[in-house]
Amino acid sequence: MNTENRYQRQLQLAGFGKEGQDKLAAAKILVIGAGGLGCPALQYLAGAGVGTLGIVDFDTISLTNLHRQTLYATDDVGKLKVEVAAQKLKALNPEIEIIQYSIQLTNLNALDIIKDYDVVLDGTDNFSTRYLVNDACVLLDKTLIYGAVMRFEGQVGVFNLEKNNLKTNYRDLFPTPPDAASAPSCNEVGVLGVLPGIIGTWQASEAIKIITGIGTPLANKILTINLLQNSVYEFQLVKNPKSAKEIPKDTASFERFNYESFCNKNHKNVISVEAFNQLIKKENCNIIDVRELGEMPVISEFETLQLPLSNFRESISEMNFDTTVVLLCQSGQRSLTALDLLKKQHPKLKAFSLEGGILEWKKQKNI
């Protein structure tokens, strides 16, 4: 008789046992974002035997992902993240089911996707999706395991899980989103590869604890972990009455809520894809791609000047612009930061940031 069992080393843990394993097998966890946080979380959740794993990501793999996104290899560059992730996870554990969502999560599809899952793991990389995922989880009463990283420092916590008669969420921690300039992204300021590895793994650990009922979940708490200092600091959350009032209370108000403008409300100079298309027909514009060199997709439909955000401030300091400028990036976040920098150096210049970035532009072109 073959007595070897894939889950032997966790089955033998006190308090885990067959009962814990059965709970994992019956569990459905949705991982939003198959990037730095999502990859390690998915690997451990698949290894542990979580019965159903949903993966949401619309992005393709780029070379700059590989130092931290542990599911992908050099040969995978250019391929869809969800497809490669599903393939690798299936090879790791063929006993589990993996559901792929190769789409951008929006307030029109989020509820429909999230409603089928028990626990949601936030591995997103921008504020508008973070608020969107948070609000959807509050509305559907799903536990949300939060993680976020920057440079050498990460945050992890569990939202919307009641403990001691208290149930807090992301809006209790940060009632209002920062503007793009004050909270830079990893694309712009960098991140140590092992950091999302640690935070994503920590998120997976919380998911396993919550599903199996072992230990104490990080409910109503945020941990910050600083790798340079080896320091961990714990914050206790409290309810924010103003946030409780502002959060969408039903499907209709959730679907009406504009997360892009909520997170970028200080920006009047955002141009929609439609308005952008009209503008470039009408006048000669200087279109600047602020993505880092080599990022996909390549833009061949119109002419762009490549000025990566990592060196944008220096690049524009000696430039003169005589036409309207439109800045674009992948999703419309980094171009906002670039717009702030551009406006500081050239306050009188007519300049816009393309809403939704090149991905939104390509999507609308195909409709």
């Binding site: 730095g36 936030d122 591995g123 973070r130 992204s185 600091y233 206790q236 409290v238």
Partner: protein, 77 residues
């Protein structure tokens, strides 16, 4: 009366330190004003405040040896 201020994320960068001791500050509003004067780069940055590790939502009186932590949001994933 001494209090300790802890800065996280980009707040530690703009202030150039991860912790600071201040005296003669009676509440969190006064603390915010003092920090803004000392570190003008903090202006416009978003952060949440915890007093002795517990998040606060409004002006809170500070006592001797209180620890105040300022936490900014991170977006990276």
């Amino acid at each position: 009366m001494n209090i300790t201020i802890l800065f996280f994320g980009q707040l530690a960068e703009v202030t150039g330190t991860s912790s600071l001791k201040l005296s003669g500050i009676s509440d969190t509003d006064e603390l915010k004003n003092t920090l803004r004067k000392q570190f003008p780069a903090l202006e416009g940055l978003t952060y949440s405040i915890a007093v002795n590790k517990k998040m606060i939502q409004q002006k809170t009186t500070l006592k001797h040896e209180d620890e105040v932590a300022l936490l900014p949001p991170f977006s990276g994933g």
